[in-house]
């Protein structure tokens, strides 16, 4: 909805999504983005009134102690070494948010501590949250302890203007290619990686395709007189 045509639509600042949202169960959660409108119609067409909706995108919030089961054991062992930013338990999966400078110590502890024994790292997956100001780039590690049959997730973040995260290849050599892929796709520089080069895209490719500001590409297709825009320019539901 354009502002001059619909002055009655409340400005977004009445609901500032960048501030923390406090749920009734007192878990502080941080918004990573904002969703506007409802039907994907912007600027024209939407007479339903739903076009003025502003809703923060909120990821599951931090869990409170006791976490229950083995979650507490792992958390205790980790917190004896470093400060864990946040522990999120959602849908039965536990996520440890740690500061990026702690990551090598965390990885080494998780692998070598006899009470933890996370032998297998299932690689790193990058996620780009353009709305998560100051922590736009997330690197998500999935770790598996075969000894105890446990699975955890470790998440670190880096801002867009300083996309550096320490490499954990010396602890988990399997992350060699995974970190190269995440660098290739997101531009996260893994400091200390033995040879951080592109892996899937050609060596001289400009940009990092999986970032949200990188367009999907494609050309409009004409069919029986109508023109269908490429997928990322089609009207979409917000």
């Amino acid at each position: 909805m354009s502002d001059e045509k619909a002055p009655q639509v409340p400005e977004a600042k009445t609901q500032d999504p960048s501030t923390d949202v406090v749920r009734s169960d007192s878990q502080v959660e941080q918004a990573v983005g904002v969703r506007r409108g409802m039907f994907g119609a912007h600027g024209t067409g939407d007479t339903s009134g739903y076009g003025g909706l502003v809703a923060p995108v909120v990821l599951p919030g931090a869990a409170q102690r006791p976490f229950g089961g083995w979650y507490d054991e792992v958390a205790d062992a980790l917190e004896s070494t470093i400060d864990v930013d946040r522990v999120v338990i959602d849908r039965g999966e536990i996520t440890f948010h740690v500061r990026r400078e702690d990551l090598p110590v965390v990885a080494r502890t998780l692998r070598d501590d006899p009470a933890l024994r996370f032998e297998l790292c299932s690689g790193v997956s990058g996620v780009h949250y353009p709305g998560d100001t100051g922590r736009e780039l997330h690197a998500v590690y999935h770790l598996l302890s075969m000894t105890y049959n446990r699975r955890i997730r470790v998440e670190v973040t880096a801002p867009d203007d300083d996309p550096h995260i320490p490499s954990i290849v010396d602890t988990y050599p399997t992350n060699d290619w995974h970190e190269r892929e995440t660098f290739d796709m997101f531009g996260i520089v893994f400091d200390g990686h033995p040879a951080l080069t592109r892996i899937l895209m050609p060596d001289d490719w400009p940009g990092h395709p999986q970032r949200k500001d990188y367009p999907l590409g494609g050309i409009p297709v004409e069919y029986k007189g109508g023109t269908i825009p490429p997928p990322d320019e089609r009207r979409s539901y917000s």
């Binding site: 983005g33 790292c121 895209m201």
Partner: protein
């Protein structure tokens, strides 16, 4: 000949002299080398990306001393199609159609791990109907057989055992026929959907599956008879591509490579999904850590898969008419398929219902098909035991109608890293065997 035609203009990309080999020009190369006074035995060779023994478009960069490999590196990315990025621009259900195309030899596993992630995000893991779960297991285990067959077939072909190739593809065709009967397609099925499966079993499918099981019980021993004690086969495979348990875990190897070290890690047993805890089967291991062990693990796993298929078919026999899609109409795909005179398409009854009888049904159909359902914000990672190891989808939602991010941890991608450690120090001919024992599928590696 001294000009590297593939290098950029003026770019110093390679050290030393570069030869572009086009065939039947070995004399000129040796002549050129001796002219340079660099007539040592060290040669850097590009194998692939178009080479029949590299399992698709895999490029190997080998440094050779005579016939010994001193360094081996992989060049990948030739089959990168941006599937993960594309999925961010389609609805959650359409994502299945994309990810099924990644590892094209085991499409059901790609669908399964993605769908399990979506179902966990939706919180409907416990609501999936029993019949859908059994059908998923049935299809996955049939798929494991067909995938292992291709691995053994191409692996055999690469060492000159052409009969293994022909009979391997012969049996795989039987599995693909079953897939065609059940899903309508031989590959790229997009059959496993969030909430269940796309369609019920067609009439006569169970009989076909039973015939297949009977036939496979006769055919599978042929592989054992051809290969297991074959001195040439053993001579080529034994001790080749050695990787012990420690190396496997450091490199993140899973699947038959890990199990060939004697460690029976199988997600179907250790972290069961889709009701695998209800089936009787044994995890197959071998203790030689080499290519031969991996071959035997795969061969034995086909027997175990056959056992599971048999049990799943028996259960399906008692589930006739049971639902195959979650009861929640906000998630279940509204359209129904039926066989018409021109093949499979939208069910005419369904079209009549939405176009002629119920406005609400039409709106419901339209909204679910165009907009799709919303998935609560969060992230999930539910790996499955694919024929190649741990295949997992890291699925992230921001509460919208499309995946915010879907990342696939493909076992081929991870396992291919072991190429160097498996083949360095060995003969150049053993590189082929080592890579065949990893069983990489480049569609999954490059995604």
């Amino acid at each position: 000949m001294t000009q590297d035609v593939y290098a950029g203009p003026g770019a110093e990309t390679a050290e030393g002299k570069v030869f572009t080999v086009t065939g039947q020009d070995w004399d000129s190369i040796t002549q050129g080398l001796s002219d340079e006074g660099v007539a040592d035995e060290r040669v850097v060779v590009n194998m692939g990306p178009q080479h029949p023994s590299t399992h698709g478009v895999l490029r190997l960069i080998l440094e050779l001393e005579g016939e010994t490999v001193t360094e081996a590196r992989c060049g990948i990315g030739y089959l990168h199609t941006g599937i993960e990025k594309n999925m961010e621009y389609r609805s959650w259900v359409q994502g299945v159609t994309f990810c099924t195309r990644m590892d094209y030899l085991s499409p059901f596993y790609n669908e399964m791990t993605y769908v399990l992630g979506v179902e966990r995000l939706l919180g409907i893991e416990d609501d999936i109907p029993e019949k859908a779960q059994v059908m998923r297991v049935l299809l996955m285990e049939l798929n494991r057989i067909s995938s292992h067959l291709v691995c053994i077939a191409t692996g055999g072909m690469e060492i000159g055992a052409l009969t293994v190739m022909t009979i391997g593809f012969r049996e795989r065709e039987l599995v693909l026929d079953l897939f065609e009967l059940i899903t309508g397609l031989r590959m790229n099925h997009a059959f496993i959907r969030p909430g269940g499966v796309a369609q019920d079993l067609p009439r006569g499918a169970l009989d076909e599956i039973k015939n297949f099981i009977q036939l496979m019980k006769k055919r599978l021993p042929e592989y054992a008879a051809l290969c297991n004690a074959n001195p040439i086969f053993k001579g080529r495979l034994e001790g080749v591509g050695h990787l012990d348990l420690e190396g496997c875990l450091a490199l993140g190897m899973t699947g038959p490579v890990l199990r060939s070290t004697g460690y029976g890690w199988d997600l179907r047993k250790t972290q069961p999904y889709s009701g695998y805890e209800d089936y009787e089967f044994d995890v197959q291991t071998w203790d030689t850590c080499d290519s031969y062990g991996r071959f035997r693990v795969r061969l034995n796993e086909m027997w175990e898969s056959l056992r599971i298929v048999e049990q799943a078919a028996a259960r399906l026999g008692q589930l006739e008419g049971a639902p195959v899609m979650v009861a929640d109409k906000k998630i279940a795909w509204p359209s129904q398929l039926a066989i018409g005179s021109d093949g499979m398409g939208n069910s005419l009854d369904h079209i009549r219902h939405i176009m002629g009888e119920s406005m609400e049904a039409l709106i419901h159909h339209f909204k679910l098909v165009t907009e799709g359902f919303r998935v609560p914000a969060g992230q999930a990672y539910v790996p499955v035991e694919s024929p190649r190891g741990e295949l997992g989808a890291h699925v992230v939602s921001d509460g919208g109608t499309r995946p915010f991010r879907a990342h696939f941890r493909d076992p081929s991608f991870t396992n291919l890293q072991a190429t160097s450690v498996m083949s360095e120090g060995g003969m150049v001919a053993d590189v082929i065997v080592a890579i065949a024992s990893i069983d990489p599928v480049m569609g999954g590696v490059d995604r």
